[in-house]
Symmetry: C2
Subunit: 198 residues, 2 copies
Amino acid sequence: MASPEIEALTQALSKLPGLGPRSARRAVLHLLKKREGALAPLLNALMAVEKNLSNCSICGNIDTTNPCAVCADPRRDARALCVVEEVADLWALDRSRLFPGRFHVLGGRLSALEGVRPEDLAIESLVRRIADGGIDEVVLAMNATLEGQTTAHYIAERIERFPIRITQLAHGLPVGGELDYLDEGTLAQALRARRPVA
Amino acid sequence: MASPEIEALTQALSKLPGLGPRSARRAVLHLLKKREGALAPLLNALMAVEKNLSNCSICGNIDTTNPCAVCADPRRDARALCVVEEVADLWALDRSRLFPGRFHVLGGRLSALEGVRPEDLAIESLVRRIADGGIDEVVLAMNATLEGQTTAHYIAERIERFPIRITQLAHGLPVGGELDYLDEGTLAQALRARRPVA
């Protein structure tokens, strides 16, 4: 059996999503064999991140700078604000490079089951950001789940008093989606939101 | 887009076997969200390992101690030596707790294709270990591949002059193996090595 240090490393890695005990062991072996090429870089990267990790005081994103790289980016349109449930959603939308504005991370979704109430999410700070002005449009980019949509509706009500456009992501057929494979919910959405052929 | 530190961390993680760019990003997010619960432990484990990582000067195992935990274990039978291709194989056999003896890691297999010659493997050190005496049996635990078996035969020839038992892992049906799903090679091995029903 390996030394406690190596066991501890395997343990720590196996906790990562996508890595089980077996793959963690493979990963450890890889790191041990490639000390310079893999272990050192990972170690340095982890240290660099750990040193100055923080939540963005503006949008709630996690980054090594505060404000985060997204909020600090001057090329972004401060007048458009995209509200997402999780940091992961922010990253996904940001990767797509499709949204030119800023973001706001709620830190979850309203859920009766999990007992998540409005005060558990970063909704007050969102309202404050909008109240501070300078924002023309708020895009509610919640997940297309029951809880996501409930959250979207709640937020829409909370901010409808402001003179801003409130929009949400379109629902319908995903690209490449085949009708006979899609669930009724999606088909219903797509049909309800049908548009005249341009 | 995220800060360079986080990008670097994603890069480093995506290099691990079993983790692609997407899963690496998920892993990073997990680490960032669980700073105390996941990031810190992983960082500490990596540092602990990196600090005193070394190849065992006896068997070639990778460990944080030299001699490695296996070679240093007094409960192990020093008279039985199991020769494996890679550290991964040593770990696999060691996990199974089935072999009570010590190990010797060759660091690969003879391969005409990849141009791996005997002098590229830890064969000399193996011969020396055996020549030093105190070993009764050498188990050649190479992979059941053409190259693995070639390596086993080569080593068997190199050490046949010593007064020791030279054995190799049995080949045949894997546990749970169904005849009509097994390859001809395995079936041939199983048939050739058939044994009288006890």
